[in-house]
Symmetry: C2
Subunit: 127 residues, 2 copies
DNA sequence: TATACATATGCTCAACTGTTCATATGTATA
DNA sequence: TATACATATGAACAGTTGAGCATATGTATA
């Protein structure tokens, strides 16, 4: 009896049931569309690289020019070590490419995607 | 004499001087183009929000649907608390909007920029 | 080949971040 | 208005990350 009561209290009404099932269907649908975890993980890793102001400054400085490590350090008032460390991260993420010329190594943005992503973010920030 | 020698060793040749001055000019030019630090900081902060796989999953799940906190938690197998914390960050960054409906709160992407930024990153990742 | 210059890298530490747990707030309904 | 449900939030803790220092590697040139 007490059990019946509790059961009655907890069991959803017909309308509630329909609502819950509808939500379930929507969730199932999304689950199918959702890209693999691995891809979403990589996507987050990519944005993480853009998510540091030192790296953003470095990327922006190369927006229209190739620069060597020392140029960047002087331009942005950063230590050589710091710039070098960050460039390694940018290299690993394929956001910059480089070429050697004598003692210097010139870095530049790897492709148009990098510019596009930065520009897109800039639009959102400047609103 | 020793001083003269050292000076001679250390002083750059004419060609070197020209090269260094050219680099200086380039750096000055970039310094003028570079956006304010504050803007670049905000830009990095924006990307930082995209730079976490939980938040990316949450954003992606809302790509074409509005969802309530509980939907997202079940869909992505996350705790209610975790989802709520992350949604607060997404709200603060103006990446999602929300509306109340009874006890539930439905979240959705704030505007097309959000979709555009994610899509752009996706292109780079899928290469 | 010794020296100076340009860049890279290993290590350490302080600061930051995401999760969890416990609890608070807000809302509908019996 | 008491209860259950949905969401939000504060505190604490573990894991991560960027900067700086010291040093290693690579390259040109006297």
């Amino acid at each position: 009896m007490a059990e019946n009561n509790r059961k009655a209290e907890n069991s959803p009404s017909f309308a509630e049931k329909e609502f819950l099932e509808a939500r379930e269907d929507i969730i199932k649908g999304i689950q199918d569309q959702q890209p693999d975890d691995e891809i979403l993980y990589d996507l987050a890793e990519l944005f993480k690289v853009f998510g540091d102001s030192t790296r953003i400054k470095i990327l922006y400085s190369m927006f229209e020019n190739e620069l060597c490590v020392n140029d960047i350090a002087r331009l942005l008032n950063l230590s050589q070590s710091s710039v070098s460390h960050q460039l390694r991260i940018l290299k690993t993420s394929k956001l910059v490419k480089f070429r050697r010329e004598g003692k210097s190594i010139f870095y530049s943005l790897d492709d148009e995607h990098v510019r596009a992503i930065i520009s897109m973010g800039m639009e959102h920030v400047e609103e």
